[in-house]
Symmetry: C2
Subunit: 174 residues, 2 copies
Amino acid sequence: MLEDVDARIVAALAEDGRCSFTELAERIGLSVSAVHQRVRRLERRGVITGYAALVATEQIGLPLTAFVSLTPVDPSVPGDHPAVLARFREIEACWAVAGLESYIVKVRVASPSALEQLLGRIRAAVAVSTRTTVVLSTAFEHRQVVPVPDAPGPQVALDGAAVDGAPLDGSTAR
Amino acid sequence: MLEDVDARIVAALAEDGRCSFTELAERIGLSVSAVHQRVRRLERRGVITGYAALVATEQIGLPLTAFVSLTPVDPSVPGDHPAVLARFREIEACWAVAGLESYIVKVRVASPSALEQLLGRIRAAVAVSTRTTVVLSTAFEHRQVVPVPDAPGPQVALDGAAVDGAPLDGSTAR
DNA sequence: ACTGAAATCCGTAATCG
DNA sequence: CGATTACGGATTTCAGT
């Protein structure tokens, strides 16, 4: 787990990945060099694994998002499915999951017909049957889940329901 | 859609969101000010919607990821479900989807019991039944899907299968 | 582990082509 | 739309506590 100061740094960088060390230091209440030192340590420890620009996929000609669940045709033949799936540009993420299906991948394509073609290529490449769930709209995505222990916590009722407009984060009062 | 230069800038920033304008300019082969100008334009146009540090959730005490599909108990009562769901810290993403269920949310929690409690709170807050798929492992995530038109393209066979070790991105030769 | 200072590098805007 | 210039501010390192 994370210490308070580190958690606040991670939360700040998760929200604004290009935040300067100077601004970060002001927000956290430490010197620039101390913050710098901690960020580098968080990177080395693998807490922060990288930085990314968030791209509106609709704006770059990929307006269709879908989740595709994969079920191997012959489960006795293993093979490194994720490695094969990683070679599809259209696949943004790949999870191995518990349940009827073995994998879920998230894909971004230009059109229904591009989706159809992609599904065909996936089935051919990894010998799976697919089940596809088309995304109608993205309410939010890439949101950050970093717990910030020292932040003034929301008032939370005993059953875990938030009292007013506070986040329903299930955190305990302290 | 995007112009070649913009696409390469977006791709570079998607891969390294903290990349300096100086380094970006070198990679793209433009002056710093030209790149600067283009990045600002991409931000203004909403192509780049933000920057984020990528955080290893296992490292911050949230090792359990799951997808939860939500089906409203009474579909005739609408209400702004995404807005309610957004108030749960544990929910990282929320999509409205086509199919039997209405929404899919991605959650990150500390443990199976934390998941159980979260599901209870979700069902209570938005009056849905839930179906949960636990993630066993994340092969990859947050990968970038930005098409880079001018990059030396992979040799692709007519059926769309890559010839050698190139990405199976279905791009056409030019 | 944090601070403060020094040297270098970068971001930003203005100006010109 | 891109290059050059110039200055203020940021990054990074290091010595000190």
